[in-house]
């Protein structure tokens, strides 16, 4: 089944931006808060911004860009009011959401929007490009729901690139709605949602203190010898807390619904960033 487009507007381009700076007394101040409908931003706290969707969508053909810059020593939290429902549009083109974020030395960014729901027939692309200073603290959650209740999802490719001081930390692309992925026990299994949270710089998870998987080479030699194995993952039901090779941890979860997904991610997040 294909959901019809909800309105007849033509595709839109929007470019919103958030930029912090150090204000008096070292407090964070929002230097820039530029909305560009449908990407509407509202400051809801000293260093909290909510993304308020002021139109349906994104729809096919839309191209939305959000630039985030967190200045050294400042903090920012970005949330959203509601889930993002991605719909097919009047034209066949993909909807595109691009988020770039730069997080400076000693800065902290929490990016925790509500889930993205892929409605039937949508064709969506997301790109997140995150560039961090080595000691930046980032907590970045991404949740994708494969269609509304009982609905087959449209297509989505969501690419995430995080680079720390120029060295790649995490590059992953979640692809939904392709025949090869659907129902594959290797990809999502029977799950209806996928989510991950990247955590860097919080320092509490023991793995965070390691940089790289670390020779001596013997460490790698024995998959079967627990005593020589560094940096083990922590496992929960449908969820894993994965120490990355670089300075960060990825919480990765699969779930049957959005509520379960959030529970699983939060379980792992508590371990990664207590």
């Amino acid at each position: 089944m294909t959901a019809p487009p909800l309105d007849t507007r033509s595709s839109v381009r929007a470019h919103a931006a958030i930029r912090t700076e150090r204000g008096p007394g070292g407090r964070t101040r929002l230097e820039t808060l530029r909305s560009d409908p449908p990407l509407t931003l509202r400051q809801t706290g000293p260093d909290v911004v909510h993304l308020v969707s002021t139109a349906a969508g994104p729809l096919g053909g839309d191209r939305l860009v959000l630039d985030v810059a967190v200045a050294p020593g400042t903090t920012l939290e970005v949330r959203s009011i509601a889930s993002t429902l991605v719909l097919p549009g009047p034209c066949a083109a993909d909807s595109v959401m691009l988020v770039t974020a730069r997080v400076g030395a000693g800065a902290s960014l929490r990016f925790v929007p509500e889930p993205t729901v892929l409605a039937a027939g949508c064709s969506h692309r997301v790109a997140v490009r995150l560039s961090l200073a080595r000691d930046a603290a980032v907590f970045w959650r991404e949740e994708i729901v494969f269609g509304r209740h009982g609905e087959r999802p449209g297509r989505c490719r969501s690419r995430f690139d995080a680079v720390v001081d120029g060295t790649p930390l995490l590059r992953q692309e979640l692809v939904v709605g392709e025949p090869a992925m659907d129902g594959s026990p290797a990809v999502y299994g029977t799950a209806r949602c996928v989510g991950s949270t990247l955590v860097t710089g919080y320092g509490a998870f023991p793995a965070m203190h390691n940089h790289g998987d670390g020779p001596p080479r013997g460490e790698h030699a024995q998959a079967g010898a627990p005593e020589s194995a560094p940096r083990r993952a922590v496992l929960g039901d449908g969820c894993a807390v994965l120490p990355l090779a670089g300075p960060g941890v990825l919480v990765s979860a699969l779930a049957d619904d959005a509520v379960q997904l959030r529970e699983r991610l939060q379980w792992g997040e508590a371990l990664a960033a207590p």
Partner: protein, 244 residues
């Protein structure tokens, strides 16, 4: 350019490295017990490492660690993907890797024992992996086993027939086994043992010791022990029963 690797372990001529001893044989014949006995017997005079290939992963390694015969870190387990013979004969890369890790971590070593996963009578070690090999049978398989031969029984440098204490119970005639083994092995040595009853395998340890000494002699391995004469697996040891 700029590569700081060390090729010495890739050299198949065995110059300046430990002797690699393969121990193979069917499931349950007592390979792991023999390895434990050798560690006990040789540990005080030799620098040892052990690689196990048990299909149940770390089962053998755990047994050896619990037995306390060797520093647990000197025991590595290799998974063989359901194909124990492949890992010691056709694709020895993982075992070589494990051997080299032991040599790198604890070297120089005198002896690295590679215990194969339990397999059938056709399983033998590649010469690329083992410099010498022992094949372990037990009497409970019946006294016809040596006659059947197979590469393990016929070509191993030493054939060990274990669990001789069970011979009367299973109706196995040790004399028949000795005669048949001799016939198919063209003079290569055979030892009869009861590791459990004797609490060790001194005869096998003595044989291994001799092989290690002659290995050192041939390959100029730097060591702090005197070279002993001893057998080198070329047939000096006759069929004997391993009892003091």
């Amino acid at each position: 350019m700029g590569a700081h690797h060390d090729d010495r372990h890739d050299a198949p001529d065995g110059h300046d490295r430990a002797l690699r001893l393969g121990i193979g044989g069917p499931v349950g014949s007592g390979k792991t017990a023999l390895v434990a006995a050798l560690c006990r017997g040789l540990g005080p005079s030799m620098r040892l490492g052990v690689v196990t290939n048990d299909i149940y992963t770390t089962e053998d390694a755990d047994f050896l660690r619990r037995a306390g015969v060797l520093d647990p870190e000197r025991i590595l387990a290799v998974q063989t993907g359901c194909c124990p013979h492949t890992a010691i004969r056709d694709d020895i890369a993982a075992n070589l890797d494990a051997v080299e890790i032991l040599e790198e971590r604890f070297g120089p070593l005198d002896l690295v024992i590679v215990e194969s996963g339990g397999d059938n009578l056709t399983a033998t070690f590649s010469r690329g992996l083992a410099d010498a090999q022992i094949f372990v049978l037990d009497v409970s398989g019946g006294d016809k086993v040596p006659r059947k031969g197979g590469p393990g029984v016929t070509t191993a440098d030493l054939l060990v027939v274990n669990k001789t204490d069970l011979a009367p119970l299973v109706g196995a005639d040790l004399a028949v086994m000795a005669r048949d083994a001799q016939a198919v092995r063209e003079g290569r040595p055979v030892l009869f043992t009861s590791i459990r009853e004797d609490g060790g395998a001194p005869g096998v340890a003595e044989w291994v010791s001799g092989v290690v000494h002659s290995w050192r002699h041939r390959h100029g391995h730097a060591h702090d022990h005197a070279d002993g004469p001893g057998p080198d697996g070329s047939g000096e040891i006759p069929v004997t029963v391993d009892r003091a």
